[in-house]
Amino acid sequence: MIIVSLLLVLLALLGAPLFAVIAASAMWGFANTDVDLSVMGIEIFGLAEVPILLAIPLFTFAGYLISESGAPRRLVRISNALLGWLPGGLAMISLAACALFTAFTGASGVTIIALGALLYPALKEAGYKESFNLGLVTSAGSLGLLFAPSLPLILYGVVAEVSIDSLFLGGILPGTLMVVMLAAYSFWVNRHNRAEPGKFSWIEVRDSLWEAKWELPLPVVVLGGIYGGVFAVSEAAAVTALYVLIIDVLIMREVSLRQLPRIMQESMVLVGGILIILAVSLASTNYMIDSGVPDKLFAMVEALVDTRFGFMVALLIFLLVLGAILDIFSAIVLVVPLILPVAQGFGMNPVHLGIVFLAAMQLGYLTPPVGLNLFIASFRFEKSITSIYVATLPFLLILAVSVVIIAFWPELTLYFLRD
């Protein structure tokens, strides 16, 4: 049994697709407990029994489409018009714009490609230091994970069977904390940068808003609709996809009909990659729960740490390591079913666990050796990966502090959830 597990881990580290590794472990487990393996078919068909999953392809497609349009440029222009007159304003613009963009496009690295490419030269021109700019753009690329309607939040809700609406509410303050802390740091680093801030102009504000008139209603309708209880999440996703499709292809015509099949196909490849892991995980999770793995895990953890404080410390260390080796989607699907019962055993609220989990995984985008954002930034800005490590480090440390705050201050997450 142990040999098989080690073998599977080795295969995973050698680059075997995760779905195959997970499926193999589930089938091995079922076979050993004399369960007929046709159960795999039943479990995978379970994908068709979770209505909320519909939100995943729809939001992903909308996100891909948005990033191919002129929306990133317009978003930067509006932010610039509103905040550009502040000293350090451009850095804050970058953070705010990236967070909003990531929330809608789902943290698959498109933020760095679509927005970073606009912000990086702008920051340079405004007299910010090279390494600061690189670090800012790289770390901002996954900021906003905690804001609705980000994909990882939805996936956590599905896996943990927690209401997505509560997760959306729970993410507001912790997500804001992360943005504010990075903004404060940017402000402080650039306090001697007397680069002349832009002037505030009502005309520019008006023009930039007018230019984005088609996109502006989107966050309002989607977020208002979800938080206001008008739409279910998957309905909001459908509205978003249809709306973005109509404005980008038919009204503004920034994406041609000819490009559309490629964008659809690319986004659905990502969706297929995520959902196939989810599908086989449904099987492996059921096997593990049947054989009492979470209980054993809880007993084991309880033997090691006996306080909630100790558990939280252990959890954070575990999540940091996890985030450095696994991508966020696989980590949610694989690990959440196991640690959720343990965390609840220590009296942790599932919404709080989700926010801590995602916040910690966000650091994983920036930690060597496999942090996705590091590679994308290195590739996109043609800098060595080591220079990106160095540039990102201060931002990483600040985000780490924010994760600790989020973990040990549950009221921050649960503030909007009090009855």
Binding site: L11, A12, L13, L14, G15, A16, P17, L18, F19, A20, A23, A24, M27, L37, S38, V39, M40, G41, I44, F45, L47, A48, E49, V50, P51, L53, L54, P57, L58, F61, F231, S234, E235, A237, A238, V239, A241, L242, L245, L260, P261, M264, Q265, M268, V269, V271, G272, G273, I274, L275, I276, I277, A279, V280, I325, L326, D327, F329, P369, V370
Partner: protein, 171 residues
């Protein structure tokens, strides 16, 4: 991969890609239109299709399977892959061969066992959406995994031939 094959296999491969891409576009478009019209019908006309939710969930399953098949065609399945980049030439190819045959084997097993599930469902005449046989919609599962197994088998054979010729893996 396709350049190395010739004749009928290459043509089948191109046809397969075309079918997968068209299916993905078709499935996604139907999901967007059906889900949106459902919202419009409900909010403005106080009606809707009773079967819509079930159809949407089936569309999702199909999208997931076709997307996963397309992901394996570009070898773009989500993987960790921290060790192999440190392996030198031939060892790298060897690791790739191992991993790809393993993936082909696992996918083949899932395809076979989910085929048995679908077959049972056909024998017991399970129904979906009122009176449609469920097996028609479920058969995408064995079909998808069989295609994934086939793709990885082809990858594995190509990597194995590189091991034999002593070259570094390409994928």
């Amino acid at each position: 991969m396709a350049e190395q094959q010739s004749g009928i296999i290459a043509r089948l491969d191109r046809l397969g890609r075309l079918v997968e891409n068209s299916m993905l576009v078709l499935l996604l478009t139907s999901m967007i239109l059906l889900a949106s019209s459902q919202i419009i019908l409900r909010n403005f006309f106080d009606s809707g299709f009773v079967w819509a939710d079930e159809v949407l969930r089936i569309l999702l399953l199909w999208t997931a399977m076709f997307g996963a098949v397309a992901a394996s065609r570009q070898n773009r399945q989500i993987a960790i892959d921290v060790l192999s980049r440190f392996l030198p030439g031939r060892w790298n190819s060897l690791a790739m061969t191992l991993v790809q045959f393993f993936t082909a084997g696992v996918s083949g097993l899932i395809a076979w066992h989910s085929y048995r599930f679908v077959n049972d469902s056909r024998i017991y005449e399970d129904l979906l959406m009122g009176d449609w046989p469920a097996w028609i919609f479920q058969s995408v599962i064995p079909l998808g995994f069989a295609l994934i197994a086939y793709r990885y088998l082809v990858f594995g054979l190509a990597s194995a031939s590189r091991v034999i010729r002593g070259k570094r893996a390409i994928a």
